[in-house]
Symmetry: D3
Subunit: 295 residues, 6 copies
Amino acid sequence: MDNSLFFTNNSPSCTIPNKIDKYEYIRLDKPKPGSFVAELVLNRPKKLNSMTDDFFNEFNKVWDEIQSDESIRVVVVWGEGRMFTAGLDLVSIGPLIQGDSEKSQAVQNVELFKMVRRWQSAFDKINKCSKPVIAAIHGYCIGGGVDLACACDIRLCTKDAKFSIKETKLAIVADLGTLQRVAKICGTGFAREMAFTGEDIDSENAKRCRLVNHVYADQATLMKEARDMAERISKNSALVAQSTKLILNHADDHKIDEGLLRVALHNTAFLKSDDLNEAAASFMEKRAAIFHNNL
Amino acid sequence: MDNSLFFTNNSPSCTIPNKIDKYEYIRLDKPKPGSFVAELVLNRPKKLNSMTDDFFNEFNKVWDEIQSDESIRVVVVWGEGRMFTAGLDLVSIGPLIQGDSEKSQAVQNVELFKMVRRWQSAFDKINKCSKPVIAAIHGYCIGGGVDLACACDIRLCTKDAKFSIKETKLAIVADLGTLQRVAKICGTGFAREMAFTGEDIDSENAKRCRLVNHVYADQATLMKEARDMAERISKNSALVAQSTKLILNHADDHKIDEGLLRVALHNTAFLKSDDLNEAAASFMEKRAAIFHNNL
Amino acid sequence: MDNSLFFTNNSPSCTIPNKIDKYEYIRLDKPKPGSFVAELVLNRPKKLNSMTDDFFNEFNKVWDEIQSDESIRVVVVWGEGRMFTAGLDLVSIGPLIQGDSEKSQAVQNVELFKMVRRWQSAFDKINKCSKPVIAAIHGYCIGGGVDLACACDIRLCTKDAKFSIKETKLAIVADLGTLQRVAKICGTGFAREMAFTGEDIDSENAKRCRLVNHVYADQATLMKEARDMAERISKNSALVAQSTKLILNHADDHKIDEGLLRVALHNTAFLKSDDLNEAAASFMEKRAAIFHNNL
Amino acid sequence: MDNSLFFTNNSPSCTIPNKIDKYEYIRLDKPKPGSFVAELVLNRPKKLNSMTDDFFNEFNKVWDEIQSDESIRVVVVWGEGRMFTAGLDLVSIGPLIQGDSEKSQAVQNVELFKMVRRWQSAFDKINKCSKPVIAAIHGYCIGGGVDLACACDIRLCTKDAKFSIKETKLAIVADLGTLQRVAKICGTGFAREMAFTGEDIDSENAKRCRLVNHVYADQATLMKEARDMAERISKNSALVAQSTKLILNHADDHKIDEGLLRVALHNTAFLKSDDLNEAAASFMEKRAAIFHNNL
Amino acid sequence: MDNSLFFTNNSPSCTIPNKIDKYEYIRLDKPKPGSFVAELVLNRPKKLNSMTDDFFNEFNKVWDEIQSDESIRVVVVWGEGRMFTAGLDLVSIGPLIQGDSEKSQAVQNVELFKMVRRWQSAFDKINKCSKPVIAAIHGYCIGGGVDLACACDIRLCTKDAKFSIKETKLAIVADLGTLQRVAKICGTGFAREMAFTGEDIDSENAKRCRLVNHVYADQATLMKEARDMAERISKNSALVAQSTKLILNHADDHKIDEGLLRVALHNTAFLKSDDLNEAAASFMEKRAAIFHNNL
Amino acid sequence: MDNSLFFTNNSPSCTIPNKIDKYEYIRLDKPKPGSFVAELVLNRPKKLNSMTDDFFNEFNKVWDEIQSDESIRVVVVWGEGRMFTAGLDLVSIGPLIQGDSEKSQAVQNVELFKMVRRWQSAFDKINKCSKPVIAAIHGYCIGGGVDLACACDIRLCTKDAKFSIKETKLAIVADLGTLQRVAKICGTGFAREMAFTGEDIDSENAKRCRLVNHVYADQATLMKEARDMAERISKNSALVAQSTKLILNHADDHKIDEGLLRVALHNTAFLKSDDLNEAAASFMEKRAAIFHNNL
C-alpha cells in the first residue's frame, strides 16, 4: 500500500488506492439540495461502530473525497445505532498487532509501524481537512473514538454520553492522536486523569473540562443542534471558513509572532475575493450574504 | 511611514512618527496622585468606538508612551459610550483594503501587507508592553475588539457583554491576533465554534470557557472592580510584576525547560533589588510594603 | 555539589550525593503489601511544611529513589499538619539569596544560579518522573507550594484550600516552575490574574479554572479519594501508564505531528509486552487484568 | 487536481492522478539486472531540459513510482544533451504566472499558490524520498536546476559546470527550495552572494564552498563516477541506507537532543533485521555482505 | 532611552531619539548619481575605529536611515585608516560595564542589560535590514568587529586581514552576535577554535573556513571588487533582492517545510510587479533590465 | 542501573554508580603542575581501542569526574597504540544487541533502548561538559569513533588519518550522535556521502570538508600541536571559556534572536568577575593575564 508512510518525519498522510468502490463501515451523506453540509456516519451499528483495518482504509479515503468535493463546506460526524463508537475492534485487530512471527523483528515492526501511521493518518485527515468538522456524540465514545473526536473541530454530545481513553486499560498507549490533542482541549490536569485511569468521563465533566462545547438532552436534539450549527457555518464564506481553520491549525503549533506573520501574508494574498465584495454589499443592503465562491 | 514593517520575520513593531500631538480616537488618563494605574479609553462613542486607520496609528503610539512612562504600572482599557467597540469601521477602512488599482498588484499588496502589520502591531504592543493590562468590557465587543481584548492580560466584563469574531461573517480571516490567541485562552473547542460561526458569545459562555475571568452586574460595578484589581496589582513591586509578565509571555511560546532556564537567569541577574529588601522588611515588620522602584 | 547545574541549556537535573541517610523534611511511605502506591509527605508541620535548602536536597533525592523503586507505580503527595505548605522558609533562605558579599559578583551569582537550578530540579523531577503523581492539597498552598503542585499530574483539594503565587508579593519572580506551567493548566487569563495579584484563589475558583480536578469536603475525604484514584491507576499496566506520562509530557512541548511520530515509534518498539497479552486474555475472560510487568 | 495543496501548513505533497501514462519530459531508467540503481534523466534536450508545468507533474509522479519500486535503492539524476538544465521554460510558464485576469484576485492567487506548491512538491519529493539521490551535473545548472540539485543528497559535476540562482535576475524570488537549502550546503556567506547576484558559480568555487562534493574532468568521467558511487551505496543494506537518510533529514530540522532520542527509538524498533545478521555473518566470514531485505 | 529593551523576548531593536544630528563615529556616503550603493564607513581612524557607546547609538540610528532611504539598495561597510576596527574601546566602555555601585545590584544590572541589548541591536539591524550588506575588511577585524562582520551578508577581505574573537582574552563572553552567527558561517569546528583561543585567524584560513568569500591583494583591489559586486547586485530588482534576504533570514531559523510555505505565500502576494514585466520584456528583447521599483 | 534513561524526552544523561574504582578501558591523565590540561586516553590498544559496554560505563563516569574537577580546564582526547579507535567491539557487543529471547519483546526492547541511551550519554557528555575538548586523531577513526570525535569541540588529525561511518556497512543506523552532528560540521553534502557509502574519508578530504581543523604530518607533531592549543586555551579565563562553550552549544540549537537574549542575560548575571578585572589590569600593564577563577 502506501510505502512512504515509513519514511517521513512529517504528519502521516496515507493515500489509499482506488480499490474501495463504496464504503462498508462508514456512510457519506452528501449535502441535500441547497445545503453544503455533509454527514459522515460511522455505520457498523451491529458491532457498535467498532474500528477494523478496513474501517481505517475507508476513513482515509473518505476524507480525500470530502476535501476535494466542492459541494461540501462543513461536515457532521456521528454514529449509527446505540452509541458513537466502542473504539477498536479487538478481535479483528489483535492478529494485526501480533504480526507474522516468521518474519524478522525489523520487518514485523516496519509493518506494525506503517499500520499505526496509516490509522493515525485516517484521523489526522479530519484535522488537516480545511472544512469545519463537528462531532455529534451520543452514548459511548471509547478508545479510538476519543482519538477521532479530538481531531474534530467542535464536539457536541448527549447527556448520556461517556468518554474514555480505554487504551490504557488494554495495556496500549493511546496512539491515534488523543494524547497529542486532549490537553489542548481539556487542560493538562483533566487530560492526565483521563489518560491514567482510562475511566469514563460523563457529559457533565466533559462539559466542565470543555472536552465538549455543549450537552443536549437526547440524540434527536443533539442532531438537530449539530446540523443547525453546521448549516449556519456553511452560510459563511467557504474561502474564509477554510482559511480560518488553516490559520487556527497553524496557531496550535506556532509562536504568536509566527502566526501573526502567517495570517498577514495569507490575507495579503487571498483577501480580495468576490466574497469580500458580497459581504460588503449585503452589509450595506442589510440582507443576508450569499457566498458562491468555492475553493 | 515605517518601512521596516515589510521586512521582518519577527513580531510587527511599528514606530509612529511624532506627528500625532494629541489623541482623537483614544484617551489616556494618566494615574491620579498616589496611584500608578492609567486608563486607556476607546473614545469615539458616537461611532461605537469603531476602528479607523488613524485609530491604529494612535494606538501604536500610545503604547510607546505607556511603556516609557514610569508613573504607569498597570493599565485598564475600556470603551466610552454604549459599548466596548463595534470593531473595524468598514466605511473608512474599505477603500484602504481595496487599494489603488493603478499600481501593480505587488505594490498594492506591499501596501496592504504593511497596513495589516501596522494594525497587528497596535494590538501586539499591549502584549509586548511589560505592564499588566486589564480589559473592562461592557456591551458589544466585536471583531477587532476581540483581537484587542485577547492581547490584554485579564478580561473582565458586564453581564450584558457579547463577544463575536465578526470578521468571519464579513468574509475576512480575522488577522489582528484573535486566531493566534483565543485558543490559548478558551481552549480550541470554543475557539473554533466562535471563529467558524462568527456568532455572539454571551457573558455566561464567555466565563464558562474562560474568555473572561469575572462577570459583573453592570458597568459601574465592572469599572469599580477593574480599577480595584489594577490598584492592588500596582501595589506590588513594579520590577517583579513586569518581569513576571515577561516570563509569562516567554512561557506561552517556549518549552518548559527553556522557561525554567530563562527565569533562573532572569532572577540571577535582577533579583537583588531594593524591592526585595523592602518586601523582607515589611514582612518582618508586619506592615504593607511600599515599593519605590521604577523601571 | 552538582557542578554541572551551571553548564547546561537543558532541564536542571541535580544529583545529590549519598550523604542524606534519611529524610528529615519529608517522609516517603512505601506501598503497603498488595499496593503499588507510595505517599510522599511534606513533613515539617511545626513550620507549616515551609521549604529550606535542605528540603530541596531531600526532595531531589527522594524522586531518584521513587523513579528507581519498582514497587512504586503511583505517588500521592500531601502535607502533614495544618496545611499543604506555606512555601519558602524565608528566615532560612534569606541569607542564601543574599550571598557572600566578599566574593565577586560573578561568583555570588554563579552560586545563586546553581541554587535556583537545584531547587527547580527538585520540583521538575516530579514531572520528569514517569510515574503518575497526585497532589492532595488541604489548607494553604502558598508560593513554592504552587510550583510543586503544578509539577504534579493531577491536583485534588479540600473545600478550604487556598492557592497563591505569593512570590509576587515578596518581590520575587516565581522561579520554580509555576509561571511555566500554570497557564497550561488554568488558561492564560486566570494565570495572569494569580501571578500579578499574588492573591489567594479559593477552591471554587481553582476548580472553575481547572487548577484542581476535584474538590472534596474535608481532608479525610480528600485523602480517601486521592488514595482511591491512585490505587485504580496503579492497577493499570505500569509500562503503559508510565509510557503515557512520557508521551503526554512530550505532547506538552511538541507539535502534533511530532507527537504522532513519537508515539508511533514508541508503540512499535514497546507494544508487544506480557501486559498486552494479559489485557487481551482478561478481556476475553471477563476478569480483572493483573499486570506483573515492572519497568 | 490536488485540492489539498492550498490547505496545509506542512510540506507540499502533491498527488498526481493516473492520467500520466508515460513520461515525456523525463525518463526513468530502471535498474539493470543485478543492479539497484535507477537513473532519472531530464529528457527534453532540444529545449535544454527547461521546465514546464507538465514537467513538474511528471516529476511529482515519478518520485511516487521511485519510492514504491522495491527494485530501486539509489537514484542518479542527470540531464540529456548539452547541459543539466536551463531552468524554468519562461515561454511556457509566463502565462501561468500571469493568471486569468477575469477571475477575482483571490481566486487567481489561490491558483498561483497551488501551482507553486505543486512545483515545490516535485523537488521536495527528492528529499522526502528515502532513497539516496545523486545529482550528476554537466554544463549549466540554472534557476530551477539549482532548486532541484539542492534537494538531492549528493552533488557531483563536471569541470565546465556552472550554477546560478538565475531567478534573481528574472525578478523572481527563488521559490522551489534553493533559498531554504543552499545555506545548509554552502554556508550562508556563499549562499547570499549567489542569491543576491544571480551570477554563475563555476565548478572550482562550487567545490570550494561545497555546493558539490567532487568535480570531474568531463561528462563521461562524471557519469562513470556517479554510477560507481551509486552502485557502492546500493550494496549496503537498503533498510539502513534509507533509515539513515530519514534520520539525516530529521537532524537537519531538529535539535541534537531530539535527534538522539529519534535514532534511539528508530533502532530499538527496526534494528533486528536479517541484514544485521548477514552483516555480522559476512564480517566473520570475511566476505562481502549481500542484503536481500527490501522495504 | 529605549525602555522597552528590557522587556522583550524578541530581537533587541533599539529606537534612538532624534538627538543625533550628524554622525561622528561613522560616515554614511549616500549613493552617487546613477548608483544605488551606499557606503557606511567606520570613521574614527585615530582610535582604530574602536567602538564607544556613542558609536553604537549612531550605528543603531544609521540603519534606520538606510532602511527607509529608497535611494539605497545595497550597502558596503568598511573602515577608514589602518584597519577595519580594533573592536570595543575599553577605556571608554570600562566604566559603563562597571556601573554605578551606589545603586542596587538589580538596577545596575538592568542598566547593563539594556546597554548590551542596545549594542546587540546596533549590529542585528544589519541583518534585519532588508538590503544586502557587504563587509570589506582590511587589516585587523577584532572583537566587536567580528560581531559586526558576521551580521553582514557577504564578507570580503585583504590578504593581510586578521580576525579574532578577542573578547575571550579579555574575560568577556562575546555577546554582540558572533557566537550566534559564526558557526553558521564557518562550521562549528572552526568557530570553536576561534572562540576558545581568541587568537588571530589570517585571511587564508578565513577563506578556507568560509568566514570570507574572497580575498584580495590589497585594500584598493578589495574596495574596487566590493563596490563592483555591490553595483551588480543593485542592478537586480530591489523588491526581489530584499525579499530574497528576508527569505534567507527566515531559512536560517526555520525548518525547510516552514520555509517552503513562507516563500510560496510571499511570491503569491508579491510576485506580480512591474519588475517581473520588465525582466520578461528585457529578456525577450535581449537587453539589460532596468528596475525602477522601489520599496 | 539508571532507570530514568527510559523515561525522558531530553538528552540522555546517565549516572553510573560508584562501583567503578579505576578505569580499565580509558586513562585520565590529570594536569601536570602548572597546567590545566587533562588528557583522556582511549587505552585498550591491543584491541584497537574498540568499544565495549564497560567502555561506555567508564566513559560516562569519567566525564562527571572531568566536569567536577576544578583543576581541569581543557581536555585532549587521543588513542593509545596504532589508531584512534576501531569503533564498536562487535564480538563483545553482539550478544547485547541480540538480547535475551526468553523475555517479551517489549522488555527486550526496553533493555536495548536503555543501552543505546546510555551509550549516547557517554559521548553526549563530551558536548554537554563545559570544558573545551580537542580530539587528536591518528590512524583510523571508525564507526563509534566518529560519533565520539563529532561530539568534541575541535578535531585535529594526522596525515594518515581515515574516518568512516562504518555502521552503515554493518547494517546499523549510526546512533551515537554522528548523524545528528556531522552535517553541522561538514555540510550536508559530505555528510550524506560519508553516511550512505560508509567508506573511508582521508585527511585531505576531512580537512576540505572541515571535519578536522588542521592536519599534521605525524602523531608526534599532532600531539605537540594539540597539547599546545589546549594550553593556550587553558590560559584564558575558565569562567569565560566554559560560558562560551555553553553559549555556542545553545546557538547550535536556537534561533539567533533567542541566542542574543541568552548571552545578554548570561553576561548580565556573570560578567563582573575577578577575571574581568585581571584582564583589564593585565591589558593596561601590558602583561599576560593570570586567571585564578575556577568554577
